[in-house]
Assembly symmetry: C2
């Protein structure tokens, strides 16, 4: 008999603690926004560009045209015309003939990753990710009991040599990797884009070792220097690969409409391993009506111009004001600068000093699957994010970015000058 | 090296098969609609009552009032005013003082069950469910590697004596139940409603054995004979219990807005163990604007009248036309008749004969966690659903129900007369 006190929460914490799934202890906290005035931590799109009026109109049309369709369970795969729209676009882009049978709709790309984790991962299974990588994917993999094997990436993304070595090592150890996860375009957090040669190498390596590739293309469309190399999906000829997409970055994160493109046999299994009675047909049909109205490509072009300006303004400010303390490679798209601290500066101290200036940036360690553990022979601190930072340029207009980066520069100078770090708890990541 | 042929799907099936998570093999197929003309299989609300115009207006207001709020990530817990609205309602209903901190929003109640399964269940953990029970919950539990221990229910729901025995037995075996799952009101599939005495007994038993109760209240509001007993949540004083709710049955299944009410310490853990970047703020705010417009209670009252008529029409038709072959207890709410076949009729034969008449009903075995296995000493077939059927009265108007049940009666007579069953694959369940 457990004593739970007499309020709805009194004593409940202990009781709950004892019943938690083992996976709970294996995960780091999920994402959140920063309360600081200059939030360069949250990887969110610009709020002013959200096509709210067009979406209201699209929702109205979706509900008017087929109220029962928009408001009743839409099945595990989702709205067929939207799946066909995605398939058609991706056929053109990848050169692989795709139909609606190749596409399953999810509640955003985060849920897509959860869905594929449920389908392919059980306790002890191994997933290769780059290091650094997107922590949301790591959480979803570990929640299924999977083990994450990080492979270093450089400014061109995951290193094929290191990947080959990891695949061989895991196979030799009797625990071959089931999945290889990458954000090939405009990586979160590193901003890196995998060159075409690396894509073909990665595809050949995964195929050779019987691993499925997960190509998370969450930043697709946010091309700031022209189109990226053809998708990994194309390099793999559409075989042994799951490509994750979303309308979050090109329309709105609040819709929660994402998808997975894969062979029909995989799509079938993905639809079997979901537990949500399907994603929202209301949201899916609203998106479809929005797309059908014809303004989507023009909207994405506007976003590109907007984010390009922000990238360039922030890159210039970083070079001019912070050049003594950071190095970085200008990303070809997406939302992120990945900064390497020079002169022995440590990320936690810089993050704390920046917070003191009202600026939220994210410590690099948040993007390394295992920043805490450092077994004998492991890479030095620098490679585990202790001298790296992520800085988001997508969410704020140029003037705000300049002001935030000027404050950030002040923080860097103070840390470099050896000023004692102010007390501060680092913000969570997004 | 795996040969995957030369099309996107050629040879992929084998490759995929080998990589599937172990849980895939432990699950039965998910829900789906029937293609038959008289679908008494899908447990869906009436399509004509969907408040499409009001929801279009609500969506417009949500997008106009706070476009960035409606269209940007809304956090793991979800829109605070909607959580507060739910808490206020449930405070009045349960007598437990609740605030927004007691409520977390999910993508429908199906995702709520997945969320709590992720939070509390790992491989080998035990969940008690009634037998029969909702198969969607069983799938979500088993996907986390949990074991389901079924406890018989009668026409008043789960039997407290059998529950006490199961809890003791599991504890003695060193595998105490972590969760006790029930649909206390208008159960899917049995239509049973747990009397207040059983609710207090269940609450005491779960507390005594250190198990959390999951009260799935998906049919809340669909009260056809006045209000049901006070919630299990009230019987438990809000302690050691998670109450799952949804707007699917009272507004629309296509919105995918559900929630879990629990102690704040539990809500915090639930929000930690989700992998969707939060549910849709667009859908949540659309629902909130709809509720704020003030027509919700009147709408639910209309639904009650509508479903009451359908329940009564169908009950009358079943008694008059099928009384020789089935017995049932008229449910006090919800969507379902649970029929017991008399005279040795077997459900699979009746389902097949009904399908031949164009009528989809669901075999009882679909609702038993383990209908196939029958170890020595196990209950006789009747208790495993082989002489039971679920028949949905919610989705069709009275005339259609009468026609469908007349056809169903013909099927029963033919099976009773020993006519050979036509070839047919039984439809999937919803």
């Amino acid at each position: 008999m457990v004593n739970r006190g007499d309020g709805p929460d009194a004593g409940a914490a202990d009781f709950v603690e004892r019943l938690l799934a083992p996976a709970v202890g294996a995960l780091r906290p999920p994402t959140a926004l920063s309360p600081l005035p200059f939030d360069l931590n949250a990887g969110v799109p610009d709020a002013a560009t959200l096509p709210a009026r067009d979406l209201a109109e699209a929702a109205r049309r979706a509900l008017e045209r087929d109220p029962a369709g928009a408001l009743t369970y839409g099945g595990a795969l989702g709205y067929e015309p939207l799946r066909a729209w995605i398939a058609e676009r991706q056929s053109a882009e990848t050169g692989v003939a795709l139909t609606a049978a190749n596409v399953t709709l999810t509640s955003g790309s985060a849920h897509a990753i959860d869905n594929l984790a449920a389908t392919f991962l059980g306790p002890g299974d191994v997933v290769i990710t780059p290091a650094p990588t997107y922590p949301g994917a790591v959480r979803a993999f570990r929640a299924r009991g999977a083990r994450v094997a990080p492979v270093p990436q450089d400014s061109d993304g995951i290193d094929p040599g290191a990947l080959a070595e990891a695949l061989r090592r895991l196979e030799a150890a009797g625990a071959p990797a089931k999945l290889v996860y990458v954000v090939a375009n405009y990586d979160n957090p590193s901003g890196s884009t995998l060159p075409w040669e690396r894509r073909t190498e990665l595809a050949a390596l995964a195929r050779g070792h019987g691993a499925l590739i997960v190509e998370d293309d969450a930043y697709a469309g946010i091309d700031l220097d022209g189109p990226p190399p053809r998708p990994l999906f194309a390099a793999a000829g559409g075989r042994g690969i799951l490509r994750v997409g979303t309308f979050s970055k090109t329309i709105a994160t609040g819709l929660r409409v994402g998808w997975i493109t894969a062979a029909p046999s995989i799509v079938e299994r993905l639809s079997f391993m979901r537990f949500d009675n399907g994603a929202s047909p209301f949201a899916q049909r609203t998106v479809y009506e929005y797309l059908s109205a014809g303004g989507y490509d023009a909207h994405v072009a506007v976003l590109r111009d907007l984010y390009r300006e922000r990238r360039d303004v922030s890159a210039r400010a970083l070079s001019e004001l912070c050049g003594a303390h950071v190095t970085f490679r200008r990303p070809a798209g997406g939302f992120f600068h990945w900064l390497r601290l020079s002169g022995g500066l440590r990320a936690p101290a810089v993050v704390a000093a920046a917070a003191h200036e009202g600026v939220a940036v994210t410590p690099g360690a948040n993007y390394y699957p295992d920043p805490g553990a450092r077994p004998p022979g492991a890479p030095p601190p620098g490679e585990r994010g202790e001298s790296e930072l992520r800085l988001v340029y997508s969410a704020h207009p140029p003037a705000t970015l300049r002001e935030a980066i000027a404050r950030f520069a002040g923080a860097l100078s103070r840390v470099a000058a050896g000023a004692p770090p102010p007390a501060h708890r680092p913000p969570p990541v997004l």
